[in-house]
Subunit: 514 residues, 2 copies
Amino acid sequence: MAKTTGALTSSYDKLMAKAKEITILETIDSVIHWDMETKMPPKGINLRSQQLAMLSQIEHKMSTNPEIETLLSKIEKHPNYDTLKGLQKRNVYLIRKNYDEQTKLPEELVVETARQQAIAIDVWKKAKATKNFSMFQPELEKLLELKKKAAEILMQVKGTATLYDALIDIFEPKMTAETIAKIFGELKEGLVSIMVKCLNASKQPDTSFLRRRVSFGIQRKISNELAKFTEYDVESPKARGRIDETEHPFTTGYYDDVRITTHYYEDNFTSSLFSVLHEAGHAIYDQNLKPEWIYQPIGTSCSLGFHESQSRFVENIIGRSREFWVYFFPKLKELTDNAFSDLALNDFVRAINRVRPSKIRVEADEVTYCLHVIIRFEVERELIAGKIDVADLPEIWNRKYKEYLDVDVENDSEGVMQDTHWASGYFGYFPTYALGNIYSGQILVALERALPSWRDQIAKGKFHDVKKWLIQNVHHYGNLYDSAILLEKITGGEINAKPYLVYLNEKYSWIYGY
Amino acid sequence: MAKTTGALTSSYDKLMAKAKEITILETIDSVIHWDMETKMPPKGINLRSQQLAMLSQIEHKMSTNPEIETLLSKIEKHPNYDTLKGLQKRNVYLIRKNYDEQTKLPEELVVETARQQAIAIDVWKKAKATKNFSMFQPELEKLLELKKKAAEILMQVKGTATLYDALIDIFEPKMTAETIAKIFGELKEGLVSIMVKCLNASKQPDTSFLRRRVSFGIQRKISNELAKFTEYDVESPKARGRIDETEHPFTTGYYDDVRITTHYYEDNFTSSLFSVLHEAGHAIYDQNLKPEWIYQPIGTSCSLGFHESQSRFVENIIGRSREFWVYFFPKLKELTDNAFSDLALNDFVRAINRVRPSKIRVEADEVTYCLHVIIRFEVERELIAGKIDVADLPEIWNRKYKEYLDVDVENDSEGVMQDTHWASGYFGYFPTYALGNIYSGQILVALERALPSWRDQIAKGKFHDVKKWLIQNVHHYGNLYDSAILLEKITGGEINAKPYLVYLNEKYSWIYGY
């Protein structure tokens, strides 16, 4: 019997070695992508797209190596399979899932998709700069066709009801468009109600001072100060992170090398300020996965929705709270050479929380933000279902923005081309942004129960205990459970938009005095 | 017959596809290395070393893929082999050479060498910091043994006369220690004669003003200005390069993405200034390989010696010429806010060309530089031949520095441990530095014949025609010929130290008025 278990252990170890290889290759891919977004000379794009295609190809080969099937079968059919620990079984499950999906995708399709993504992103940048959707359209059409081909195959393997569900499952495993539509329905209703109350309030925040000019140099200092607050080290000889500048902020990396980016605007310093908090929220999740699980499938984040719950938690629940500004407002005054010394704390907090429907998702306030996401969800759901075409996107986009947010989109660069996601082939990704907000509301309830003093601590500039709780209750679970299960572990219940709406309502009734 | 030629073409195309894969993988490796040196957070080193090990392993597998042997045999034995063009035959030859060498080296030896190199570099850094050669010695001994084992195998494959020749061939194909020794003999005699004349001259340049403080911000502007001069675009939306900062300057990249680094010292601004020109010389070589040859073995540089000829040409023959400073001195004054306005052009040119024997190679002037290289060549030649031991290095090193340059080496950190090359296992690399200088002198004669007005053009800030000549006569040849043949194509003769000595003598007789 010992010998048999030995064989099981040996197969498991071999399987984990294969998983480690794949993980390391993915981290190479992530550095190459980061470089493309941050540092690569513009003309490097051609070579870069070939590098990325090759990495996809190698990754695909590694992921579909028949030895993995052999090892998986040995383990799954082993008489002592049940002696494996829960986390070992989860590793086996995750590898099986990935293997089955990857082996069904033809290598040609994978390589062609990687190549087309690189082209589409490049063309999207140019089209956005020149407000020319028709330049972008053919590249997006090609990419969409490739993604739909992949979705058809994945739908079979995953056993999802629709093509779109197969794509959602990539980012939020087991989540469906039907569940999302239901929860987004409640969410939309609640948000619109809060939005209307805010817009109708007699006293509207003055935000004019947020346009005061803050130099890039000072904004960089603010970024470093925020990084320090979140204990995201970017400066010391033991740093595990760094901050760079890109058109669109993002986070990438793994454990000891997790990088964030931001975008500085001289006449809108809070744009970068909240981006840095947002991305730092992502970064500390990736940095604080359980160290013992590094290179294992369970040693990654649970889902994109959970990832977003962490970034939105740090950006909004912490970063836009009155308590955070009790701590940070004096620092801001100091760093900006008293450019904001004439302002009262409450006026500043009201300004950074002003609710105003707008055209740009990444600039949206907390109340309207999810409405932007809901629009994208509805549009891409129909796009993948073939009910609308790429050519229709601008018109449908603009119509929905008028209907939901009452704003007029004047050109496609501030409309349908504002985000990089579709150019990157990330269909099914957008809903996770709103899911993250919903999760963050539920996580907040759990945190308040466990650490009732958390607001006082933030007011003193102490993030440490909140972070510790997040690490223990979210980050350290890694990918041990699908998001629905993890949510239940943390909050005791299933996905529910109410806590988030309650949080918003409490906050905004104070901000707007309604 | 058409069918047979079709089979040849098909095998050739397949072989080229394999070569392309290897090239693209190498460019990935180069971005990952660049990131490690420039941007990686310090704690990322552990993951990074695993990424690099994986890339080496993949590259080794690709390079030794038996399909390459099958394709090579088919092509080489094909009755219509002679119908291949010269450049196709060269591609086949270069792939055959690399394949034979890679497959003959046991994987165990390759892995063990990679591991020992990492250890030796790490220990070298610590030993250099603490001036402790005996700490470094055992690791260098182990590495030397491994390199000698590899050299024994490579000597068989390459058919070289000595172990050392097999190592030189890695960096300067077909070059031998015997040829080098002969040419270095003449070079040394000539250099010592010029050096003595300079040191004995009655009027010695004043260099004190070169220590004037120039802020990093201004030095960065100077770098961009120099890049502009060399048409090494780092700023426009069509840029194919970029400049970053590292401890030791270097160049890396391929065609449309070639990057350089520099190191700024506030009290020594010319250090970065000439580094930028030097690295730009390397960069424009790699950027101007024939575009049609991209991803082919012929679409790389000829040899390290030729690479160095280009960097030294731009750094010294151009960058330290009086004509360059006719153009650039007013710019420098402007950029530094008139910090050098009190100086006369000729005094500045004399200062940047001062000859003074020193202990550190990378700080050496044009006249003494090659003497540093000759010492290293003589030492490593005897080391590989087993005539001296690692333990003897400090004593022999210091003795030669006294004898050739009349300087006293006070500790091994500024002596035998100053360079990273041996710790990195790069035995046979050093001589290419002096070969590059020699080539640059011969290339200068050819340029002067073809473009007699080149000095006037440089004085007007116009590098364009010189660059065009270099592209047509050096860069565009890529790796079509071994260096001796390429040199003959360009200069009509074989390697010869005289032109370089004539160039130096003319220049320094003006600088020192001897």
